[in-house]
């Protein structure tokens, strides 16, 4: 098939009196559909969520029970009766991982929620406030941000003493500073949009503007960041536990399990006692990361660009 010559006058067939509607130029709607990596992330996170909730019931042994009470020996290799072997006190590693999952994930989740509640309320509050209030809040926040997180955590926990509520409060407060900065930045970005100005020009109050104009638009990027922040908090609480200031023995927690079993690297028969909790932390954080990446790639990667 060849094209008409450019000197020709082509007129498409038409009917007289047909109106030409304004064309729809809105793009077709595309919802979020996870990619393969997204599905992998979702599968792994779901797996750990089930373990975290039902671990104590699914575990073959108790948290501090000995699988081989008659043959006490530390760091036994994986074998029938103890699929991942035993730890420094000959306890079943699989069971302790399953008990520790709830504690590690629970503490981190609670701390992240606390960080988000504080950070978002204050951050968006600063974004809608006048420049003076914003200045004061931001400078105080900057001061806290300048302190290294793990050092600050160490000092606080060492001073007050370690317990689960203290851990949650410490991690929550430390990470609230980061969330504050993000929420303020997102809030500021939305504040300059025309629809917010239109609401102000209508005479709407500050509370209305926050809840109806800003929050619905800030929600999505903040939820995506929540996943990322959760990873940092998991690593933070695990680090504290590793240093001995987190979850206290004999309670199990992935970070403290790594520390307890460090000896296995030097004189144990297997390295599984260290590897298993470390891999647990790694798989969970990587999986959350996969989901976050997948979601933000769908949204044009705006969030990852901002980080």
């Amino acid at each position: 098939m060849s094209n008409p010559s450019n000197t020709e006058h082509f007129v498409a067939p038409f009917e007289e009196g047909v109106a030409f509607e304004e064309l729809q130029d809105a793009p077709p709607r595309t919802g979020y559909r996870p990619s393969l990596t997204g599905w992998i992330g979702i599968a792994v996170v779901t797996f750990w969520a089930v373990i975290a909730l039902a671990g104590p019931w699914l575990a073959p042994y108790g948290e501090n029970a000995l699988p081989f009470p008659d043959a006490y020996e530390e760091f036994q290799v994986p074998q029938a009766g103890a699929p991942l072997g035993t730890d420094v006190a000959d306890r079943d590693i699989l069971s302790r991982i399953m008990y520790g999952a709830g504690r590690t994930i629970g503490i981190s989740l609670a701390a992240t929620l606390l960080a988000y509640t504080l950070g978002v309320v204050l951050g968006i509050g600063a974004a809608v406030s006048g420049p003076k209030v914003d200045m004061v809040m931001s400078r105080i926040n900057d001061a806290f941000l300048s302190l290294p997180t793990i050092m600050l955590g160490l000092v606080v926990v060492a001073a007050i003493g370690s317990s689960i509520p203290v851990l949650i409060a410490t991690a929550g407060l430390i990470y609230a500073t980061v969330v504050f900065r993000l929420a303020r930045a997102i809030g500021m970005e939305i504040m300059v949009m025309d629809f917010v100005e239109a609401a102000k020009a209508r005479g709407e109050g500050r509370w209305w503007i926050i809840t109806r104009e800003i929050w619905p638009n800030a929600r999505m990027p903040l939820i995506t960041d929540f996943g990322l922040r959760l990873i940092y908090v998991i690593l933070f609480t695990s680090s504290l536990s590793f240093l001995g200031l987190g979850v206290q023995p004999p309670q199990a927690d992935w970070g403290s399990m790594v520390r307890e079993n460090l000896g296995a690297l030097q004189y144990g028969q297997s390295i599984v006692p260290v590897l298993a909790p470390a891999l647990s932390i790694a798989t969970l954080t990587v999986a959350i990361n996969l989901i976050v990446d997948d979601v933000s790639a769908h949204g044009g990667g705006r969030l990852s660009g901002r980080m």
Partner: protein, 610 residues
Amino acid sequence: MPKDSRTQDVIFEARDLHISARREDGAEVPIVKGVNFTVRRGEVVALIGESGSGKTTISLAALGYTKPGLEFTGGQALLLGEDVTGKTTDQLRPVRGESVAYLAQSAAATFNPSIKINEQVTEAPVLHGTKTQGEANEKALALYRALELPNPESIGARYPHQVSGGQLQRLMAAMALCGDPDLLVLDEPTTALDVTTQIEVLKAFKRVIKEEGAAAIYVTHDLAVVAQIADHIVVLYNGEVKEAGPTDVIINRPRHPYTKRLMAAIQPLPEPGQGNIALDEHLRDDPAIEVRDVDAGYGMGVGGQPAVKILRDINIKIERGQTMGIIGESGCGKSTLARVIAGLLPACEGELLLDGQPLPPALADRTRDQLRRVQFVYQMADTALNPRQYIRYILGRPVEFYTGLRGKKRRKRVEELLELVELPASFADRFPHELSGGQKQRVNLARALAAEPEVVLCDEVTSALDTIVGANVIDLLTRLQKETGVSFVFISHDLSTVASFADEIVVLYAGRVAEQGPTDMVLAAPHHPYTRLLISSVPEPRMGWLEEAAQTRAARSGIAGGVEMTEVGCPFFERCPLAIPGTCDKVDPPRLDDGHGHVIECHRELSELE
């Protein structure tokens, strides 16, 4: 330099090209439905149509590119005889750099702000290894000259923010042409420019395309622009070619009803005497809004004065049920004036009167009723409507806020408002992004009307819309005014749109009123030199207009330039063909009043401005 004749004559050919989008549920939505056209060497083919017609999608196909979510579903796009539809990015990379170049709408977004211009202009051919840096520099310099850029030897050493918008647009053309492409794809390259700048850019494009002997695909919705630059026009509607032929035929003897409609949507500049006749049925003693001796600006300066003063000494009266058009190039303070009236930017001097009563300058000091009576409509409906709210809520909130209607009554009122702006009631349950550009602009307008206002400030409400859609919105505004007696302040840089619709016109230049008066009088001589420039810059949909306009303009020296604020004298001095050195740049111009409400601020006598 013209291409050698060994290479083939047909540069690009679309053969029964089909492109589709894939929806969430997997269904295929055809966007381009079997398009055929050919681009030969040295020829400019214009793709013309409104948004959603598929013109940009087709032009990108020449690069073998589809936007995310779209895919080639049939036919061929032959670039130099080779089909580019099935190629991978790696296969296309040499083609994109050497055979075809793309010119986007916004030069500001194309240039990297932190790299010098010349480096960016010469980057592609050097990177592709088709030219050494020296050859590329030479070529770039030749292009700067051909594009009539000021100081061609040194302009490449500047950063993008150091040149004007029109210059940057031309530099983008240099960037595209530096690698001697066979095909140039230009996507609405002058749409974002002021009319005065558009002429310079069009002229430069036309010349350079001819000299380089390149072929071009020119995408636009503006027939008047196309008439100046294209050899061949392809009219698209809904992904199909409706009419195609030589420019002369399409412009002068269109046959398809859609093409005729496109032509009809172009607002010709009314002849003096054909402007709107004011209806006096809504007139009362006091004007709806009056602006007296207002100064305003941004930032905090000394003694309560703004750091940067934009508006100086503005006096305007808008009568009830009438429309005041405000016109000027970007940077003249048009939007600032609307924001002052809306209270978004409090005036630092002067006063505002609403229906004869003083109106507090700042938003926070106005009562809810005062807020209700003055409404503001934003230019970009995309950012003016909250993307996370249903239309029902966007319109329902001001109804409830100002009139106190709730529940069923509120719902009924929202449906009335949608009907008023000619949208189906079912749109109430949609989000803004599910609407087309024109529909969003109607919702934007309906939100202002929900307050039952007396004055509506329209800031460039048709500028982002296609000619046809924009014309529909203007019709709607005219009808609404008749029905509700509302007064409009209509801001635009498009003189023909304003003139077709406004009762009075204010010409702003650098924050001052250059000329104001009833539309008829402003369009007729005597003119302020700036008004004359604006009138002569409105493109006309006939061939040869560009050459004529350039001829008459060439006689006036240095008329193209940016808007500069000045502390003393007439701000138009630098660009004015009638400037009197020693007077115009030293003394503020006097107000020349002809006694019929027609005011010109100029040092020349009225008789000299005929």
